[in-house]
Each structure stands twice: as C-alpha cells, then as structure tokens.
C-alpha cells in the first residue's frame, strides 16, 4: 500500500511538473508579446499627442495651363516627422508631391510642391502626417 502511494504520487508529481513547464513555456512568451505590442501602441498614442503641424501658407505658381502649389508647413509639435509618409489632399483628392527635406524636426519648416493642379478657384488643402494628424488650409487659384 505504501509503495503504491509513493508510485502514484511520483507519477502525479511528474505530471504536475510537466504541466507547470507547459504553462510557463506558453504564458511567458505570450505575455511578453502582448506587452511589446501594448508598449508600441502606447508609444504611437504618445507620438500622436505630441504631433502637430500648421500650414502657414500656400503659394500658387503658373505651370502652362495648370498651376503648381508650394505649401509651407511648420512642425509645431515635439517629435520629428518623416515627410515621405505625409499625404496631401487638394479638394479631397490625393496628390503626389515633392518635399524640401526628408525629416521635419520640431520648430522647423518644410516646403511641399504639388504639380499640375487644374482649374481655378478656391481649393481646400488637407495635409496628413504619418500618424494621421492633419491640418486644413484654403487657398485661391487665380
């Protein structure tokens, strides 16, 4: 009877150790992964709060029968922005653009050029940063 009890206890004990190893082996990496993703999400939220831009002026230039525009944007936030990840909408439509610099540091200015806008009249400009922060500006093409 005593030997049976020892044998059974040993078998259950080994299985409990195996179960514990399985729990630790899956729980720790899962919690680490979720923590990493949560950390990144928190950083993205912090960066969004710290991001702000201001369109200070839009200059129109005649380009044949069309117009080019030169947009001046100030980084009024406190993080550096990558200008290639910006998006520019004129009257709601996305346009490709060139920029005067790749990185827009805080308290710095960048110039964007959008070419070959057709027609004249008031246009509404929206500039969006890489993390979705935007600013609007209305200008007139004469």
């Amino acid at each position: 009877m005593g030997f049976s009890l020892v044998g059974a206890t040993a078998i259950i004990g080994v299985s409990l150790i195996i179960a514990l190893e399985i729990i630790i082996g899956t729980t720790v990496p899962t919690i680490t992964n979720v923590h990493d993703s949560f950390d990144k999400m928190r950083n993205r939220a912090i960066e969004q709060v710290q991001t702000d831009i201001n369109i200070t002026s839009v200059r129109t230039l005649v380009n044949g029968s069309d117009h080019d525009i030169n947009i001046t944007i100030d980084n009024t936030g406190s993080i550096t922005l990558e200008t290639e990840d910006f998006d520019i909408l004129v009257n709601g439509t996305s346009y490709s653009f060139t920029s005067s610099k790749s990185y827009l540091h805080p308290k710095n200015t960048v110039y964007f050029n959008v070419s070959s806008l057709k027609g004249t009249g008031i246009r509404r400009l929206k500039v969006i940063t890489n993390n979705g922060i935007s600013d609007y500006y209305e200008f007139n093409i004469t």
């Binding site: 044998g7 259950i12 179960a19 899956t26 709601g92 996305s94 509404r124």
Partner: protein, 147 residues
C-alpha cells in the same frame, strides 16, 4: 497467505499506477489545451494592438472616380494590414454593404501607407453620412462626411 498478500499488493500497485497515469494524462492534456488557447488568444490580442488605421479624407470633398466614391485608409498602426473585401466590412449609416459593392486598390497596406477604398456610388446618398470601416479583428474607424 503470504503469497496472496503479495498478490494483493501487486494488484494495488498496478491499479494505483494506472489511475495515477490516467489522472496525469488528463492534467497534462487539459493544461496543454488551456495553454494553447491562451497562446492563441494572446496572439489575437497582440495583432489587435498592432492594427490601427485612419480614414484621412476631407469630409467635405469625397472624390469620385467613375461609379465609385474614393475613401483613403492610412495604416497608422504597427503591422501590415490585409485590405480586401473579405477582411473588411463597410457600413454606411449603419447599413452593411455587400462585398460586391466595394473593393480596395491594394491587397495589403504597409505601415504608414495609404490604400484607396472604392465604394459604389449607388450605396452612398447625398447629405451627411457616416462610414464605418471594420477591419481584421474588429479594429474599426468611423468617419462622418458630406456629399
């Protein structure tokens, strides 16, 4: 008498080993299942935290191309998004659109990139409306606009 006592002990020993083995098997199997489910759930939570997108249109100027209104979705999260009418559901003013009435310009959208969502113009009326875009793992963004 002595031999029957030994036989009884052997029977007890074998039965206790069988019962302990069965209990151990159940414990290990249950713990493995629960751990796997926890791991899968953790993976889904991780993916959910990584997914984020914004509709970046100008709400007063929704562009139109042929028979489709164009909505721009920017990937502002930390992972590439599979953008198709199977992974995304679109609601306009609360009504779910059929998958034949919209499509995306790209099958996947990398971080910081923009994809265009084409919505058939017969699904969009005039006036103030709301567009709800529900992506993978129920990550969503709502956008109010005027046509």
């Amino acid at each position: 008498m002595g031999f029957s006592l030994t036989g009884t002990h052997v029977v007890f020993f074998i039965s206790s080993v069988i019962i302990a083995g069965a209990v151990s098997g159940v414990i290990v199997a249950v713990v493995t299942d629960v751990s796997n489910s926890f791991s899968e759930r953790g993976e889904r939570v991780k993916n959910q935290l990584d997914l984020e997108f914004d509709i970046i249109n100008d709400p007063d100027n929704i562009p139109i191309s042929g028979n489709y209104y164009l909505f721009y979705l920017k990937n502002t999260g930390g992972a590439e998004i599979a953008t198709s009418n199977e992974t995304f559901s679109i609601f306009i003013d609360g009504e779910l659109l059929s998958t034949v009435n919209y499509y995306f310009s790209d099958s996947s959208t990398k971080i910081d990139e923009v994809t265009t969502l084409y919505v058939l113009n017969t699904e969009v009326s005039t006036g103030d409306q709301s567009l709800l875009v529900v992506g993978p793992l129920a990550v969503e963004d709502e956008f109010s606009f005027t046509i």
